[in-house]
Amino acid sequence: MDSWRKNPLVFWVFAVPPAVWLLLFFLTPLALIWVFSFGEKSGLIDVHITWTADNYMRALDPLYLQIFLKSFWFAGITTAICLVVGFVLAIAITFAPGRHRPILLLLVMLPFWTNLLIRTYALIAILRTKGSVNAALEQFWGWGNGLLALLGVEHLQLLGDRFEPLHLLYNNFAVVAGLVYVHLPFMVLPLYAALDRMDRSYIEASLDLGASQLRTFRSVVIPLAAPGIVSGVIITFVPALGSFLTPDLLGGTDSQMIANVIERQFKSANDWPFGAALSFVLMYITFFAIALRSVWSARRDAREALA
């Protein structure tokens, strides 16, 4: 690696375009929003900068706090489900015969590469009252009734007089299902990377010393895969927290998440300062989570090197 002084001209040729672009078309918009978050709306889209903290205070309103908490809740459950399922998938892929592995990985990651909108939309068709899940359940209901008829007890109407479809859409369940659906591939990759990198002798040594599979998993695999787990949790939780499309398309009126509120401020409520403040709160949470993870891994590295 050279010092920039070694060849200043070349350095500037490479440095100026990205730097200028970032400054102009990334940092400036962000700075603008940041400034807006301290303003008040005056007129349709004008903002009067008064350096007030009102917008942030409003974010702490019970109404909005509740939405924040719900978003955390959704993101949390999603991450938990993805972690458990993702771990099993990662194990299945890591310990599969070498030739199967690339295919399995591709199969898990491919949905990730398809359009989010389409994936979410596809879920609608499945979860609708007249969608695939309910259609299948209705079939089972029919077969159940057929069986009962065979046994001669159909007049008891044990399964009800008609099929009651499950309400799987436009509610919290749908949002979580959608979030898991979208984010599961995100979780698998870092878990797989961590497991793949791990020396299998550790697992064998633990078994050899008398530990059960479960105990080995708890005492050896999880601690050694911890960096991968933390990565996976972060890249699942943070995007899930800031999710817009999934709650928008799949959620009901009380399944709103932070991103939906922000969108409303900018598109219909026209309260840009408040929207800006909410955006920044979301960003601060994101940065905080990432910083937490850096601190954690720095501590871990230090601990393993010291007495």
């Binding site: 064998e204 078994l207 010393l209 050896v220 050694l224």
Partner: protein, 362 residues
């Protein structure tokens, strides 16, 4: 424990991996209690696979393994009375040395109070008594290995398996550890089985050695017997250096076999019977002498020209060629300081005793 029955019995064990690779072919072995046993062979010969079968990490495709008289079929590794020291040591980096050593005791439900005492003893045994609170990341390679040893031995297994224990150490450390391991085994008194590709290690450490090649067990014997009485060409060549000759059978009379050896000429060897076929002969380089003049009868002697000398400090290896073009290697000890000055060149007689010639079964 019955002193006669072996502690480990490997009966006709074969292992074929998916993809067709036959790692072990029909291995039959018995290992006695308290021995220091070595599985020796070049890489790919199946020795590590056999070790892992003993530990329970591979299942034999056919055949049975008995440990302490019990058939190990279907027995998981965590239920076998054996413990293994892995080639990479596999000392858990996220636990202290003491926690590593205690791990096996903890997962088996040993009493808390007992654990700390036993851990302390185990660490003392491998001379790491003061290192309990250290992290493995802070230790040298040799020290990490000793932690792995302590961790396995603290469980008092019936058999200790070691997978290439010395290959990761540098030459000096290797020598020290060789003696250490023998001393350890002596102190603890349990059966050790080590896997190695280094014949010096096997010869110096083991009570008995099984030489393997391409999945087959070729010969099982003590070091001396293996070295002086190898049962086939491979063993003769793998262990130490050998001069190998082909001999055409031309006759046998009153205990002496007459052979025509390509490049040497007529050779007469003591032999119990006619054999009726051509044989391979093997002579170790250190059994040969170099003399200026032809010795009296009773020796085999052939003239040869010195081509090259490789100097190794305590010994030199002299490469000669007979008039008929056969290459010979002779090992001489530089047992006086003046020997280094002696200019070894020109023609010499290569001399050895007929009974030091090994007739290889074909």
């Amino acid at each position: 424990m019955n002193g006669d029955s072996p502690i480990i019995s490997i009966n006709s064990v074969s292992k074929t991996f998916p993809g067709g690779v036959q790692a072990v072919q029909n291995a039959d072995l018995e290992i006695r209690e308290g021995e220091f046993f070595a599985l020796l062979g070049p890489s790919g010969c199946g020795k590590t696979t056999l070790l892992r079968i003993l530990a329970g990490f591979e299942t034999p495709s056919t055949g049975d393994v008995f440990i302490d008289g019990k058939n190990m079929h279907g027995v998981a590794p965590n239920r076998r009375p054996v413990n293994m020291v892995f080639q990479s040591y596999a000392v858990f980096p996220h636990m202290t040395v003491a926690d590593n050593v205690a791990y096996g005791l903890r997962v088996s439900g040993t009493d808390r109070g007992e654990i700390s005492g036993r851990v302390k003893d185990a660490l003392e045994l491998v001379q790491l008594g003061e290192y309990g609170t250290r992290q493995p990341g802070q230790l040298s390679g040799g020290q990490v290995q000793r932690v792995a040893l302590a961790r396995a031995l603290v469980k008092k297994p019936r058999v200790l398996l070691l997978d290439e224990p010395l290959s990761a150490l540098d030459a000096k450390l290797r020598e020290t550890m060789q003696m250490e391991l023998v001393r350890l085994q002596d102190t603890v008194g349990i059966t050790f089985i080590i896997v190695t590709h280094d014949q010096n290690e096997a010869l110096s450490m083991a009570d008995r050695i099984a030489v393997m090649d391409q999945g087959k067990v070729l010969q099982v014997a003590g070091p001396g017997e293996l070295y002086e009485y190898p049962r086939d060409r491979f063993v003769a060549e793998f262990i130490g250096k050998t001069n190998l000759f082909e001999g055409t059978n031309v006759g046998w009379e009153s205990g002496m076999l007459s052979l025509l050896v390509n490049g040497l000429g007529r050779v007469e060897l003591p032999c119990a019977e006619h054999l009726y076929h051509d044989v391979g002969l093997a002579v170790r380089p250190e059994k040969m002498l170099l003399m200026q003049e032809r010795p009296d009868h009773g020796y085999l002697a052939f003239e040869a020209e010195v081509e090259k000398i490789a100097y190794y400090g305590s010994e030199s290896r002299v490469f000669l060629a007979t008039d008929r073009g056969l290459a010979l290697e002779v090992s001489i000890r530089n047992d006086t300081r003046a020997a280094a000055d002696e200019q070894l060149s020109g023609r010499r007689w290569v001399v050895w005793r007929p009974e030091d010639t090994l007739i290889l079964p074909d």
